[in-house]
């Protein structure tokens, strides 16, 4: 959870500050038309903000957002200081969180970087909850506050409320209560069983956090009251189940072929879930903590899958709303310029050969695609009509809304990435096969390459490809109780040896009996680990 988690929307932090370029781009890209139908009625002129002004701007932006059909949770805007922002960073943006050293580590590094001036703080953090909580920093100018309100309170907020992943996988109304429950429960455990034990358990759980989600099964939304009530029931149930599974009294007549049956029958992708339900030695409180980490992981899972869309959507709307404010004469030209400068910084995409390059900027990609969809709807070219017959010339508000609700990054790119965006960004694909001497350019932004390029980019956002696919394969129920995990290789990509060994130690401490991990390519085990220690050679060599 301490890895840069997408729950924290830090739109304006990681962007290279390149003012010169920002300004020149802005001059090229926008002339500033003033709609003569609206007379100037500026909400404010100076750069200072006040609570009255925040309310005034928010009201105006809310009106505009409604005209554009944005459906949002109620907003809760909280003004905080920069120190508090650092605290918020450290607890992955959540207003409350249980205690763990890794959050302290996060805090220390944020603090250090901030003091050194190596890093600016995000202008805002927004939380997927109802009411939707957004943090605004007191240091921001009025223009920035307006931009952030448009971005977070109406952009992200409407995305949280509308996107299918969020609506079906998370329960915005309950998350804060659940966090409170989790914090208190873990605190109680620390008092009763010692902070050290709890810490060790959390370490292991955090390590496996990415494997604590159901990718396909839809979870039941979590409600804190239910949670509390079902806690006891669950404890009893677990014990019963375990007793059955690990029953050592031999059954009188065991059918012969039962020996070969694996447990679980089908490989289980949710490793934490499997451990919570089946690990032989865990106490009920330990199972409950695993469950808490699992639930949080599930809560953050949609955010990981919609980074491009979510940021693109929010950026598109702050851009649109701020311009609209200007067009209707509510903000001054100076304010518009300030907003657009920040905006340009946010969507700055360094080229692959720039020293600032660190992958594709999700803001840029998302924003460009959203703008492009708007363009295709409003002014379709021949090419658009050929590529997107369904949406070319349609109502752009409806089309964007539809896209926002029903896609995640992977499918969104596959569906909507247009040749024009690929050309604008000069995208090209590189294939790196470790067995080849050279890297190969697979496709570029030209007629033959568009489809291939689009598929490659879409794959790049498929979490299933990026995270190693590891599942619980078998448990030796009758023998030494060892658990076997299988890594199903994709594109022959191996697991990192060192971290896998570390991970097995964590798994071992949770499971309590030997843990095996096998990398499988085409049904053949090519690499294997075991904890307590054995190397690949020993394991495969014997076989």
């Amino acid at each position: 959870m301490t890895r840069s988690d997408p729950s924290v929307h830090q739109p304006f932090s990681s962007i290279v500050d390149n003012n010169e370029m920002a300004i020149s781009r802005m001059k090229n890209s926008r002339e500033l038309p003033l709609n003569p139908n609206f007379k100037q009625q500026f909400l404010s002129e100076g750069s200072e903000w006040s609570f009255e002004l925040l309310a005034k701007y928010d009201k105006k932006i809310a009106e505009l957002a409604e005209e554009f059909g944005l459906d949002t949770y109620p907003n809760q805007i909280e003004v905080i200081s920069s120190e508090q922002m650092m605290d918020a960073y450290a607890s992955i943006g959540m207003p409350l969180m249980y205690n763990h050293w890794s959050f302290g580590k996060q805090f220390l590094s944020t603090h250090k970087n901030y003091q050194r001036g190596a890093m600016g703080l995000a202008y805002e953090i927004v939380i997927n909850s109802s009411p939707c909580i957004s943090y605004l920093m007191e240091e921001n100018t009025m223009a920035m506050q307006a931009l952030v309100i448009a971005h977070a309170c109406y952009g992200h907020n409407s995305f949280f409320k509308g996107n299918y992943l969020f609506t079906s996988w998370t329960d915005a109304t309950a998350i804060i209560d659940y966090l409170l429950f989790a914090k208190q429960y873990i605190q109680k455990c620390e008092e009763r069983y010692g902070a050290e034990q709890v810490e060790q358990l959390l370490d292991s759980c955090h390590a496996l956090m990415n494997y604590g989600v159901n990718r396909y099964k839809r979870p039941v939304p979590l409600s804190p009251q239910e949670e509390e009530a079902r806690l006891k029931e669950r404890e009893e149930y677990r014990q019963r189940q375990l007793n059955q599974l690990w029953n050592t009294i031999p059954k009188s007549e065991r059918p012969k072929d039962a020996e070969e049956k694996r447990f679980p029958d089908e490989p289980e992708e949710n490793i934490l879930y499997f451990i919570e339900k089946n690990a032989p030695l865990l106490d009920t409180w330990q199972r409950e903590i695993i469950r808490i980490v699992r639930k949080l992981s599930q809560y953050f899972y949609p955010q990981k899958q919609t980074q491009v869309m979510n940021e693109g959507w929010a950026t598109f709307w702050h851009y649109t709303l701020i311009n609209e404010l200007y067009n209707q004469g509510y903000i001054t030209e100076g304010m518009l310029l300030e907003c657009m400068q920040s905006h340009t910084n946010v969507v700055f995409q360094p080229d692959f050969d720039s020293p600032y390059y660190s992958g594709i900027n999700p803001y840029t990609l998302g924003f460009n695609m959203m703008r492009d969809i708007q363009r295709i709807c409003q002014n379709p070219t021949e090419e658009d009509k050929e590529w997107f017959p369904d949406i070319a010339g349609s109502d752009w508000i409806k089309t964007l809304d539809y896209a926002m609700r029903n896609y995640k990054d992977e499918s969104f790119i596959l569906q909507f990435l247009s040749p024009k965006v690929m050309r604008d960004l000069h995208l090209f694909g590189i294939r790196d096969d470790k067995e080849q001497e050279h890297l190969e350019v697979t496709a570029i932004h030209d007629e033959v390459g568009y489809r291939e390029l689009r598929k490659e980019l879409s794959d790049q956002y498929n979490l299933g490809n990026n995270e190693p696919n590891i599942q619980v394969y078998n448990v030796n129920v009758r023998g030494d109780r060892s658990i076997t995990l299988r890594h199903y290789m994709h594109d022959k990509r191996p697991l990192d040896d060192q971290s896998s060994q570390e991970m097995l130690k964590h798994l071992h401490s949770l499971w309590g009996f030997p843990v095996k991990l096998e990398s499988v390519d085409d049904q053949i085990v090519v690499q294997a680990w075991e904890c307590p220690n054995k190397t690949t050679e020993e394991l495969i060599g014997k076989a």
Partner: protein, 430 residues
């Protein structure tokens, strides 16, 4: 519907607990880093926070991730001259421009910078002085306490008016009035009931209420009782209670530190620098234990003087060396200004070991007879001498006579200061 909330006044140190947990978890590493820093740092800026740098491998949190190998296809922006099918030389060691993979590689902790963070001055000193303690501190606190503090200890029946406790006094008065009037009030109640019964009876008989002798007697008694009750004083002398304050002996929180140094010609500036560092370290350490610290600088060659800090460290004198003169002066100053009953006395002496031969015996004598009985601790460091002279030998005798209070070590260069200091003040198991 929007709520705007000003959270700026809420606590801003939400992360304190987590920060502390991190520090605790990596205590060993941090201590090591602190020790490293001390070696490099001049003592002058000892009293600052510091940057701690831990290998990021040690603080990393593992996750499953891909290692290098296999086929990896990625899309990048900013194409300039590539065409489909172009072959490109693999850039050295992954990463960078057109290379493989993005952020993932950093999760191994390999190739990443160290994890660097800041600890405060207090934390720095905590780590620095951890496991060190002032010798004989406990003894001093129990014995010889000459400072007192007044503490509340219940109530007394005698005292001065300014200590009067009103609530307590009124409570007492109230209780007394209840106790003394109880019997009479009970009788009053009885009489009233009797009178009522009497009246009912006459009423039932249909006659007028009139003064029968019984009734008259009752009324008279009632009158008398009421009079007596009325005469109970509202507050009496023995109701009064006073706050009681008692004297509690307080351990002395004052300490004086004597810096004694040889400034004869044989002491070079380098040696004096080392001595200075040692003194500063001691000063910082004392400051953590005592509220108030005096420092007395005594320097000597053939004669001793009490001087200010500047002169002590930086003016140079030449001449012979008579150590006993300094010890005499120390004793004098203690007797003059620092009564051992009030002060915790620490003496640190630095020298290169030079002394007039027959003076060393005198030194030992002054130490054993005059100084040692009065001080908490006497630390002697000999700096830069390759072989010990007879002063060292004499001091050894003193050390064996006062093993608890007398310590001696030799220092050769600046790097030794902290280790030697640690050794001198290491926490000893009782």
């Amino acid at each position: 519907m929007t709520h705007i909330i000003d959270r700026r006044l809420n606590g801003k140190n939400k992360s304190t607990v987590n920060r502390q947990r991190f520090l605790d978890r990596y205590k060993k590493h941090i201590k090591e880093a602190v020790n490293q820093t001390i070696k490099q740092r001049s003592i002058k800026d000892m009293e600052q926070g510091t940057e701690i740098s831990l290998p990021s491998r040690d603080v990393s949190e593992p996750i499953f991730h891909h290692g290098s190998g296999g086929v990896n296809t990625r899309v990048h922006p900013g194409n300039k001259e590539f065409h489909q099918g172009d072959l490109i030389q693999r850039p050295p060691s992954g990463g960078g421009g057109g290379g493989a993979g993005e952020g993932q590689a950093s999760n191994t902790g390999e190739g990443m910078d160290d994890f660097v963070f800041q600890i405060s001055q207090d934390e720095f000193l905590d780590y620095m002085f951890e496991d060190l303690e002032l010798p004989n501190l406990v003894r001093k606190q129990l014995k010889d306490a000459s400072q007192f503090e007044y503490r509340r200890a219940g109530f007394t029946s005698a005292g001065t008016p300014d200590k009067l406790n009103v609530v307590r006094s009124l409570k007492n008065a109230h209780a007394r009035r209840i106790a003394l009037g109880g019997k009479k009030r009970k009788r009053v109640k009885e009489i009233l009931e009797e009178l009522e019964a009497l009246d009912e009876k006459t009423k039932a008989e249909g006659t007028e209420i009139e003064d029968t002798p019984i009734r008259a007697a009752l009324l008279e008694e009632l009158e008398e009782l009421r009079h007596k009750l009325g005469k109970l004083p509202f507050i009496d002398d023995f109701d009064l209670r006073y706050n009681n304050l008692i004297k509690v002996p307080m351990p002395s929180t004052r300490a004086v530190m004597f810096c004694v140094m040889d400034v004869s010609g044989s002491m070079t500036q380098a040696i004096k620098d080392i001595a200075k560092r040692f003194f500063i370290l001691l000063y910082l350490f004392l400051k953590r234990n005592y509220k108030h610290i005096d420092v007395v600088f005594i320097r000597h060659h053939t004669t001793a003087q009490e001087v200010d800090e500047e002169t002590f460290f930086y003016s140079r004198e030449t001449g012979g060396t008579i150590v006993s003169s300094a010890l005499e002066l120390t004793d004098e100053v203690i007797r003059d200004r620092y009564n051992p009953a009030d002060w915790n006395i620490y003496v640190a002496q630095a020298s290169d070991g030079d002394n007039w031969d027959d003076d060393s015996i005198r030194c030992a004598k002054i130490l054993s007879e005059k100084i040692m009985p009065q001080v908490q601790y006497f630390a002697y460091v000999e700096i830069g001498s390759r072989f010990h002279q007879n002063l060292w030998e004499e001091y050894r005798h003193v050390a064996s006579a006062f093993p608890e209070q007398f310590a001696m070590q030799d220092l050769t260069d600046a790097g030794d200061i902290y280790p030697v200091f640690r050794e001198l003040f290491e926490r000893r198991d009782a």
